[in-house]
Point group: C2
Chain length 356, copies 2
């Protein structure tokens, strides 16, 4: 938040930003209430360029900023000069190239890219190497054709190319605009949103509409830490990125991305087990999104809170682990679940809302 | 051969080329005798640009042409105007861009790319989508920087980008220059080369040197045919591309590329079984090349003819199926083995050469 206020020129330093933020003049709201998603701290401010994803069937859109890369970045709470300089460069140098390139290229079918990347060892949450590669292959001719200087185009390419998490900021809004149309389907007990802010984990249920959140304390992530860090450094589970799992990819497709266990811990058999168990709490199987290691079974899609309660199986999420202090960045990655209490509250609310 | 002679301007049409080829004036030789490899018909002529791969440890090099794409192409025996025009375009328009781009970029570590693509669902013989993506990511900034016109650069990018088999023509020479240094290791019973020409399958044994081939009739490929084609259309097993299996990738890493079973037939469990069985006839496990689905076990590397004879397990090769008539192109893909007789002859020759 502090970084966002300085970036927008609303505060000149951290002290002023904190004062402003505490003063009540600034309205903070969840990305999900504004057709947006953001990884980790999920800060989106007015001037930030965004990817625009559209659900072609229902016409709704979802937005997400351009991924900043790893290390010291705003989404991990960093806001020093390096971070702000990068954000301004992204706005003033990177975005104009991407904007023009997307205009030249026209729409990119992200559903096709996600279907392909699942055949290429990604699961589109914590592994996005194939997704970023495929996105670049779509965009490069248009980047080359656009009107900017060669230097600016090469710098834009190198930035995207240097950050394999680029595609995460497309898979997240793709999954959000896939899910949002299920809101307000009468009596629908599917989970339409899962997200967390480092303190609480919140879910929304399709049939109960966009304004009812069921929250409980976010859990600690179990996983692998980068050298020099341990559990005592970790923040609680954080960010909107579990929209991928909500829609049946990410952790639900870990069997498609065996290499991810080297990042989040465990063995390949664990990855297969995670995916396999998710069929017990979901209502459908992806028709476009297939898991090769499960003989191309469609991804487990549509978490039904009734099944979660009946089986006691909670959705699996693979996720980065943020340092609990702002600005340090990512300290590891692992596996986490939504707290059981979210589902208990939600099913009670369904029962109450829909009882005769 | 006919296409190659016309392309080189040595013959003006097929009739003249056939006459010339039959006349004894032209010397034909195996790619492998000239530090080269070629997929399918494997035609390399004097003017064709090649990728140059170097074994940095031993200093030896291997060469391979630029992949022409699928459909009607020289390596499947086609030589009509479309094919020749494309070959000339590749020489005069594509190659200058790639040559300058590689000069700007400098060496590309193909070993790293192969290690990565095995984590991304490729096996670098019949699935090269990740490999081609990673190669493009290496080359794009240099393509953008090079001195050619924007149109020429975009056309070059689009050609490579439009052909996911591009990387095959790098993985093949990479594997050849990996293997060639084992020639003339005394008493070494490892297979240094496997290749086939649509009639015969030939192998060479490290300890017996580069000039001794053990050949037998190439087998028919078992696999999936494209719509409209069947076994009666197929040529016998063909091409140098099984140098990938000889070095432990390709079919030996099918467990890393489950999506390939949709192309060559079978189920994912078959892909895992193929890889697993290859450990029984190999002497080592890749230190850079790991198979995620086998919990990152190193690829089965170094086929020992003694193990092949003891176990009766022949190396597994996944391969394209060419139409038996020239010019039709690929009609399917599947699985094939080298004929047992190659190994029988080779082990007898070892016994004879090395008996006291």
């Amino acid at each position: 938040m502090i970084g966002g206020l300085i970036y927008e020129g609303l505060a000149k330093d951290a002290a002023e930003a904190e004062k402003l933020a505490e003063g009540g003049e600034i309205t903070f709201d969840s990305c999900h209430m504004h057709d947006a998603v953001g990884p980790m701290a999920g800060v989106v401010t007015a001037s930030m360029p965004v990817w625009i994803l559209e659900n072609k069937t229902f016409g709704n859109r979802a937005y997400c900023t351009i991924n900043e890369g790893l290390g010291k970045v705003l989404r991990f709470g960093a806001y020093d000069d390096e971070v702000l300089k990068r954000l301004r460069w992204m706005e003033q140098e990177l975005y104009p190239v991407l904007e023009e390139a997307v205009a030249i290229k026209g729409e990119i079918d992200v559903k096709v890219l996600i279907a392909k990347l699942l055949q290429m060892g990604d699961e589109a949450h914590n592994r996005n190497e194939a997704g970023t590669s495929l996105l670049l292959r779509e965009l490069v001719p248009a980047i080359m054709s656009c009107s900017k200087t060669q230097e600016q185009k090469i710098a834009a390419f190198n930035f995207v190319n240097g950050n394999n998490h680029t595609f995460l900021n497309l898979s997240m809004p793709a999954m959000k605009c896939t899910l949002d149309p299920i809101f307000d389907i009468p009596y629908c007990t599917l989970v339409a949103t899962m997200c967390r802010n480092g303190t609480d984990f919140g879910i929304r249920i399709a049939g109960l509409g966009k304004n009812r959140w069921f929250t409980a304390e976010a859990e600690m992530v179990k996983g692998l830490y980068f050298p020099g860090y341990g559990e005592e450094d970790a923040a609680r589970d954080l960010g909107d990125s579990c929209i991928t799992e909500t829609a049946g990819i990410g952790g639900f497709c870990m069997a498609a991305a065996p290499a991810i266990v080297q990042f989040v811990g465990g063995q390949v058999s664990d990855a297969i087990n995670y995916s396999t168990r998710m069929y017990e709490i979901t209502v459908g199987e992806g028709r476009a999104y297939k898991i090769p290691a499960l003989d191309f079974r469609g991804s487990p899609t549509g978490i039904d809170i009734r099944k979660v309660m009946e089986t006691g199986i909670r959705p699996v999420i693979n996720t980065g682990i943020a340092h609990k202090n702002p600005g340090v960045g990512q300290v590891g990655a692992g596996i986490v679940n939504p707290p059981e209490d979210c589902f208990k509250q939600a099913i009670a609310a369904c029962a109450e809302a829909w009882s005769n």
